[in-house]
């Protein structure tokens, strides 16, 4: 199982690396998947971005129809244009055109999300990090470089960093904490919480950057 997960990860990472290279973002880390998704949109000077047009409209503006289509896609990303068209009361041709335009302007990406368990991560740990004598941003960047670290946020509060770690089992978690996380300077204290049961998970929060 672990081998399979690593194979998927490697395959996807290679794919992403190629994409990064072709989009001129290769100097940014491969690990910032979010950057890749919206790289075209973020890169370039603001004036140039402003000049790009979508249907004579500021590309950062979505209208009600766009939002309605996106709402349907959030529930089922593979819902057919025809089925979406019926819900939003326009033609399937319009739905397809809107989705294409949103994707092209970097405002929308429709993706498959693989379950942690199916991907081989039997254990999820939400760890708070207290950083000592170092800028939390630097420590966070080093932590983000680990494949097993699935998310990293800088926070103001009890901890300086909140991160999500995926592990196949407890022994691999122990190994990861000791031999990988343990080598990052500046980690004063790690306060982990192991997830028992996830009651709710919405994956659109990554839009916040």
């Amino acid at each position: 199982m672990a081998d399979l997960r690593i194979r998927l990860q490697t395959r996807l990472d290679l794919f992403l690396k190629e994409k990064l290279k072709s989009s001129g973002l290769s100097h940014k880390s491969t690990y910032f998947i979010v950057e890749r998704g919206f790289g075209d949109f973020r890169s370039g000077r603001p004036e140039r971005r402003r000049n790009r047009k979508r249907n004579q409209q500021d590309e950062t503006r979505m209208d009600e129809l766009d939002r309605h289509i996106i709402k349907e896609l959030k529930q089922d990303g593979r819902k057919s244009a025809k089925a979406i068209a019926e819900v939003v009361s326009v033609s399937a041709v319009t739905v397809r055109a809107r989705i294409r335009a949103l994707e092209k302007s970097g405002q929308l990406q429709v993706v498959a999300v693989t379950d942690f368990a199916a991907a081989g991560y039997g254990i999820l740990v939400m760890a708070g990090v207290e950083v000592e004598q170092r800028h939390p941003n630097e420590v966070g960047m080093e932590l983000a470089a680990f494949d097993q670290v699935l998310a990293v946020n800088l926070t103001a509060g009890a901890h300086d960093i909140e991160m999500l770690i995926g592990a196949t089992d407890l022994s691999s978690l122990a190994n990861f904490l000791e031999n990988e996380v343990g080598t990052v300077p500046g980690i004063g204290r790690l306060s982990p919480a192991i997830a028992l049961e996830v009651h709710k998970y919405q994956s659109e929060t990554e839009a916040i950057q």
Binding site: L12, G37, F38, T114, A195, K200
Partner: protein
Amino acid sequence: MTVFDKTDFDILGYLTENARITNQEIASKLGLAEGTIRVRIRNMIDDKSIRFTAITRELDVENPTLCFVGLRIDLPKLTSSVNELAQFPEIRFVATTVGRYDALAIVVVDSVEALSKLVGERFMSIDGVRRTYSSVVTKTLKYDYRWGRVI
């Protein structure tokens, strides 16, 4: 739970990048029958190994503030409290945990005042919730959309 084989991974490789790709397109790229692709995707969806969703730059909240809220909860009321928490639209993620908290929630609000109201009034009025610990996210360094919990 599906144990993915090589073909499943090949199919997922395309879908992770763009879920709107047609089964026929995947089939021709992999040199397989369209029916094979359709059945495999159906199986992965049915046992909740994958789901398809939309990722956007724009959230449904203006000036979104992302916060981590740890909760200490009376253990006999843990499941009922967390089920109640999961109903809040502001909560995007909630799990019961063992360790520093009894449950951890990720919330999105439009202001720090809204956080105070949500956590101080509404969370505290849930039967079983004893104390909350909030941290406000100042910067997201990494989020990998490829993995999630399919519920």
